[in-house]
């Protein structure tokens, strides 16, 4: 099972995880490991305070890219169900930007899958961040090294 979606409103990653796990029902018993990544908006970037963030995307392509990444990594690593939720629109500090969850029979595929999905998403999925600082608005030029 796979669930990929973009949200234009704040979401609760823990409630989303509970809902997804409930959806898996008895299939959950096939997976001895699950790994989660939650990315949250910081109140600083490159030495400046950031008050709000705007996340632009390419409707259609963004969803397809995430689905492609999950599908390719599943083939490589052989994990089971995966969940990816990503924010778009206007965000405030402390709000979750992205949630990734990967389930697998054993820990390796879940841990590696989560890490590879977030790294590839950051480099391949068409999202762009614009942040508001005390000096005005600016586009984020590149991702941090991690």
């Amino acid at each position: 099972m796979e669930f990929i979606c973009l949200r234009d409103q704040p979401f609760d990653p823990y409630a989303e995880l509970s809902a997804f796990t409930a959806l898996l029902d008895t299939e959950r018993q096939n997976y001895g490991a699950e790994s989660h990544f939650i990315g949250t908006m910081r109140n600083f970037n490159e030495g400046d305070a950031v008050s709000t963030l705007w996340l632009e995307h390419y409707p259609g392509m963004t969803e397809h890219e995430i689905a492609r990444i999950v599908s390719e990594e599943r083939k490589q690593l052989n994990f089971g169900p995966a969940l990816v939720i990503h924010r778009i629109g206007k965000l405030a500090p402390g709000e979750p930007i992205v949630l990734i969850a990967v389930f697998s029979a054993h820990r390796r595929a879940a841990l590696d899958g989560t890490q590879r999905i977030i790294e590839r998403l950051k480099h391949e999925a068409p999202f762009w961040k614009k942040e508001h600082t005390p000096d005005g608005e600016r586009w984020v030029a590149s991702n941090t090294k991690g």
Binding site: M61, H64, V98, L121, K122, P126, F127, K129, S142, N143
Partner: protein
């Protein structure tokens, strides 16, 4: 041929438009197309592209009816 062009993020602001429909003649690739859009200047390294919503390169061929997008490096996650 008829091509739908889309721009995103900082490039959308630089170009001053979100999208446009053009009918270029005598072009074969994304790089050729960019020259038509930007007064003959070559496609800058920092500008990425997609054809029909899949990542592409300057040498990717474009065809009648394609949607071609130009955008800066992505910064999601």
């Amino acid at each position: 041929m008829a091509i739908r062009i889309r721009y995103f993020a900082s490039l959308r602001e630089t170009m001053g438009r979100t999208a446009e429909d053009i009918n270029p003649e005598g072009i074969a690739t994304v790089a050729d197309l960019w020259k038509v859009l930007d007064e003959g200047r070559p496609l800058p390294d920092r500008v990425l592209c997609a054809v029909n919503q899949e990542h592409a390169t300057p040498s990717t061929e474009v065809h009648d009816g394609d949607e071609v997008a130009f955008f800066p490096p992505v910064t999601g996650g």
